[in-house]
């Protein structure tokens, strides 16, 4: 055994068939798994000219060799597809238990092609796979879908990864939800599922997942467990969840507020992780094999749900001018139930709020209107009234009304919860992200705000290009391995390389691991160039380049793209347009 389940399932929804094949050794060697598998298979199979919501798009679910091996925080799977929101090849990552269960069911990856005439779900069951009728599930929320499948299978051990009504309605930022609240959140992966009439992927099984060298893996496991436990960062994550970031980002004056009009929210404490711990938090919750447990189970009034995490708290809170944590949590629960990305949905509402306040759109919503915000979330999910227009995302919406500059997005995907004007390297990371506005393809907040692995001055541009490249490549490799990105606060490239070597039996060095990450990054980039992306797209909204911050330490700052972009391209071995040179492609085996 080598950490892999050994098989991949190819579901042709047009033909209604599923074929099972061995996981190719070359794919393991060059791309490891997870995001690597997804991007390689996707870019091999999909003509760059296709429409993302057409029949010819492909969805790849893939776990990594470290998923489900009992390694702390080894729980992740990736969903890769051509995003209907951005038009780019992308992947969305999710935790929970599903990734482990997919491998216990016998599969490293599943490749979904075509379009079913009627709603179906894909059942993975102890080495077998088949398509089943899902007509009775269509229209159900993610929670109802999960309940119904558990009931019809008479088995609560199954794990369900599904879409809600938003995916069925082709909301461009619909997500996929597993175990009722864990999301492959970004880019509209749920809309692609909906376009194929695929309601869910269900995994059941108890097949073994064994490492190549169990004794060596036990030693490395112990080492990484100790590092994670000794790293003080993870204690704060356990106690306060990811929402512990609210205050530190706000105190640095880089918490985007009211659609990035300012970067400091006076009421941040009201929606902080500290306040959540004292009020609505019932208990922490972890994914498979997690020793951190950053997940939140929250209960209040008649409401019960998981989350909210930091990003939705920011987006439904400060970005919409709202200081009521319960309303934020309610909105987050609606997103989970309907299957909406809880970053893009609220950020699109924040865009509407600014446009309505400025009179560009006739609508009663204003910043701070929490009840109005909740109504809009449902309208988006159901594509009702103005929700139908907002379901296209903030860029298309703002453009329709003549003000694209008010969409706080990059490559048409809404930006996350940090103001790049006061965090220069993060700005470069999100502007060059191959999946559009993003924070988890290279988390520069870690060195620039949190001080890990070392403190970098967030206002300085010098040297940031190299950091961004390294973080982006390492993250791609971590996403391929199946590990949670939060391990990177405590672990280095050599730790992942040692875990992979012991698990797979392939001798992988830290340098080779980074090369795998670089290969994935360049492959994704090359494909996106074929879909029309270029230097012009590696940027951020004009507001962030021209309107100075006006409060706190970053007063006077704007995001300084031109001081970093050429250096970044040069370090990557790309030309001035951001295209990987032939030499770089050859070096990575992509030519």
């Amino acid at each position: 055994m080598d950490g892999y389940a050994g098989k991949m399932a190819y579901a042709d929804l047009s033909a209604g068939t599923v074929t099972i094949k061995p996981t190719p050794p070359e794919l393991k060697k060059l791309y490891i798994g997870g995001r690597g598998f997804g991007i390689r298979l996707l870019t091999d199979m999909v003509d760059p000219k296709i429409e993302p919501l057409g029949e010819k798009n492909v969805i790849v679910y893939a776990a990594g060799p470290l998923t489900g091996t009992g390694i702390p925080l080894g729980s992740r799977y990736e969903v890769s597809t051509i995003s209907p929101l951005t038009g780019a090849a992308m992947s969305a990552n999710s935790g929970g238990v599903f990734g482990w269960k997919m491998k216990k069911a016998g599969f490293d990856a599943i490749v979904i092609t075509g379009k079913s005439k009627k709603p179906v779900y894909l059942m993975l069951d102890n080495g077998k796979a088949e398509l089943r009728n899902a007509a009775h599930l269509w229209g159900k929320t993610t929670g109802q879908t999960t309940d119904a499948i558990e009931e019809e299978l008479k088995d609560k051990s199954v794990r369900v990864s599904c879409i809600g009504p938003a995916g069925e309605k082709l909301v461009l930022f619909a997500c996929i939800i597993n175990e009722r609240a864990r999301a492959a959140g970004r880019g509209g992966v749920g809309a692609v599922m909906g376009s194929k009439n695929l309601k869910a992927v269900v995994a059941r099984g108890d097949l073994p997942i064994k490492a190549a060298d169990e004794a060596q893996l036990a030693l490395v496991k112990e080492r990484v467990k100790k590092k994670i436990e000794e790293n003080g960062i993870d204690k704060a994550l356990h106690n306060f969840g990811t929402a512990v970031l609210v205050n530190i980002i706000n105190e640095n004056y880089v918490l985007p507020t009211r659609n990035f009009q300012t970067a400091h929210f006076p009421d941040a404490e009201n929606v902080s992780g500290e306040t959540m711990a004292k009020t609505i938090l019932k208990k922490p919750k972890g994914c498979y094999a997690c020793i951190v447990q950053c997940g939140r189970v929250c209960e209040f009034d008649d409401e019960k749900g998981e989350g909210p995490e930091y990003e939705p708290i920011w987006a439904f809170g400060p970005d919409c001018g709202i200081n009521d944590l319960k309303m934020v949590a309610r909105a987050n629960n609606i997103c989970n139930e309907y299957g909406l990305d809880a970053i893009s949905a609220p950020a699109t509402i924040a865009c509407l709020m600014e446009m309505a306040e400025k009179g560009y759109v006739k609508h009663p919503i204003r910043f701070g209107d929490a009840k109005g915000m909740l109504k809009l979330v449902e309208q988006i999910a159901k594509r009702e009234e103005i929700g139908d227009e907002l379901a296209e995302g903030s860029f298309r919406f703002a453009t329709k009304y003549g003000h694209p500059e008010l969409s706080m997005s990059s490559k048409k995907q809404e930006l996350p919860a940090y103001d790049p004007r006061g965090i220069q390297g993060y700005g470069l990371a999100t502007a060059t992200s191959v999946r559009g506005g993003d924070h988890v393809y290279g988390y520069m907040i870690s060195p620039e705000i949190l001080g890990a692995p070392e403190k970098l001055d967030p206002f300085v541009t010098t040297g940031k290009a190299q950091w961004v490249k390294t973080f982006q490549d390492l993250t791609a490799a971590i996403d391929a391995s199946g590990m949670c990105l939060f391990t990177s606060f405590a672990l280095g490239a050599e730790d992942y390389a040692d875990l992979l070597s012991a698990t797979t039996g392939m001798k992988i060095t830290a340098a080779e691991l980074l090369t795998v990450g670089e290969r994935i990054w360049n492959l994704q980039k090359l494909y996106n160039i074929r879909r029309g992306f270029g230097r012009k797209d590696d940027t951020l909204p004009a507001r962030l380049l021209t309107e100075q911050l006006k409060e706190g330490a970053p007063t006077g700052q704007v995001w300084r793209r031109e001081e970093m972009l050429d250096e970044y391209y040069t370090l990557r071995g790309w030309d001035k347009e951001g295209t990987p040179t032939k030499e770089k492609q050859k070096e990575l085996g992509l030519a």
């Binding site: 003080g232 530190i248 001080g451 890990a452 606060f489 706190g552 330490a553």
Partner: protein, 99 residues
């Protein structure tokens, strides 16, 4: 705030696990010319357990502890020697992460 007899008053806010050992917000009276170092000496004397959370060794705060003066990390000012002035707002963070 008024400056009296060459003394200054600064406001300190603490976050996350630091609140287990100290007030979330406190005003501290210090001699004029005080620095982050003297402020922390005052606070660690006042709050039992705080020193252990902030310092790995004398004069060396723990990895990933962040101290902001008016929103700017003191790492990029004068570190522990960063001078304090009347009315400064100091934010203390233990190691933390998210995303």
């Amino acid at each position: 705030m008024t400056v009296t007899q060459n003394r200054i008053t600064v406001t300190v806010k603490s976050f996350a696990t630091l609140r287990e050992v100290m007030d979330a917000r406190v005003q501290v009276d210090l001699p004029s010319g005080a620095t982050i170092r003297s402020l922390l000496a005052e606070l660690t004397g006042r709050y039992q357990g705080l020193g252990e959370l902030l310092f790995a060794a004398p004069d060396t705060h723990r990895d990933f502890v962040n101290i902001l003066k008016n929103g700017r990390n003191v790492e990029f000012l004068g570190r522990l020697d960063t001078p304090l002035e009347e009315g400064d707002l100091i934010a203390l963070f233990p190691p933390l992460a998210g995303g």
